[in-house]
Amino acid sequence: MKHIISIKDFGREEIDSLLARAGAIDAAPQIRQTLAGKQVALLFFEPSTRTRMSFASAVSRLGGTTITVDSVEGSSISKGETLADTVRVVSSYVDAIVLRHPKEGAARLASEFASVPVINAGDGAGQHPSQTLLDLYTIRQSMPLEGIHIGLLGDLRYGRTAHSLAYALSNYDVTLHTIAPPTLELPESLVAELHRRGCTVQEHEDITSLIPELDVIYATRIQRERFPDAASYYNVGESYRITPEILEGHKDGMIVLHPLPRAGEIDPRVDAMPCARYFEQARNGVPVRMAMLEEVF
């Protein structure tokens, strides 16, 4: 039985084959029947409308049906049942479980107790492999992953999407450029791990001079609660905003990604530029999640 828990469990070949599968699904968008007659539980212990909808869409486009549990109140969880028990019981109703949970490692635990495949749809500040895979997929739609220069911008300390993407990209010979406000830099332990995995990581204070080098800009959300006061949040927000002016002189074919929802990190005037790929990126969640589902069935 196969589970999808963490991008760290994926070798390069596995990533490549999953992305290729997503590409094949995308190229032939008619209804596939891989999940015909199958039921998938969307077990969401934490609200995440987009992820849930996109998994629901993926299941139904594969001919399967979903059972959704997204309200913790009134369910057995609020009565103190363990996740282990919940997963054991739900396993007996369905053919696979897609799990979203606030605790890190919840999906790993679930996979140990479930008798059906488990797909991690985000566990707290931990892993969210479908996000990483759709980020990779979106980059690969525009360019091969090998050898690219990618700029990670924003809150790199707490931003798990950036961590997982950086880790996954270390399977390829990429150069990571990081641009983060003071105290929100990529954690040192992660930088060390990326180095061990043969990745080049370069820190920068300012994105402007870096723009002509980058193939990909990956902007992440900068959250108000990371700052002591509104003024310092505002200042950081201003200096990390992607605008058409900042992007002047960019490489041909450069793309801008963002896991969405965005706060002020990308100026809406960028939306009309050909490099803006974040809505495409969100759309790619469906074929990538379809590929993940096919992978575990």
Partner: protein, 156 residues
């Protein structure tokens, strides 16, 4: 019965375990992980900050001597985390019958608590914590946290 050996700081024990070469100051942590408290009934001697010669170098160490007890593997593993140079001496009839070093195992199950409050191993679930011992530190196999400092205070 043999004569009491000379030069011992504390009285000899007949049967039990001597944990020697404990890092100076760490004896109390060793007692904690062995579950020895004032309420338990082992016969016990502790020496802390005593002078010792190791490899021709003078230094300080702690020693813990417990009568009528031999240690389980998990207990020895915990001691290894506290003091990797400790030695475990098994005493039978006043004689050291076995002496072994301690070794941190590659995998620690249920021995250390994850420092990440958001980790599922700290929730009320029927699982043990699980760490891989790496050069960088202890790597939680559930949440990926790496514990690098003050490992001994997280020993369960």
């Amino acid at each position: 019965m043999k004569d009491k050996p000379q030069g011992l700081l504390i009285s000899p024990i007949k049967d039990g375990t001597v944990i020697d070469h404990i890092r100076a100051g760490a004896a109390l942590t060793v007692l904690r992980v062995l579950g020895i408290t004032g309420q338990t009934d082992e016969e016990l001697s502790i020496a802390t900050n005593v002078t010792s010669m190791t490899g021709g170098q003078e230094g300080r160490k702690d020693i813990v001597k417990v009568s009528k007890r031999e240690l389980l593997k998990e207990e020895v593993d915990r001691i290894a985390l506290i003091s990797p140079h400790a030695t475990i001496n098994i005493i039978r009839d006043y004689i050291v019958v076995e002496k072994k070093g301690v070794e941190i195992p590659k995998h620690l199950s249920g021995i250390v608590r994850c420092t990440n409050a958001g980790c599922i191993t700290n929730a009320n679930e029927p699982i043990k914590s699980s760490f891989e011992v790496t050069e960088a530190g202890l790597h939680c196999l559930y949440c990926d946290t790496v514990i690098t400092t003050d490992i001994e205070s997280h020993i369960i």
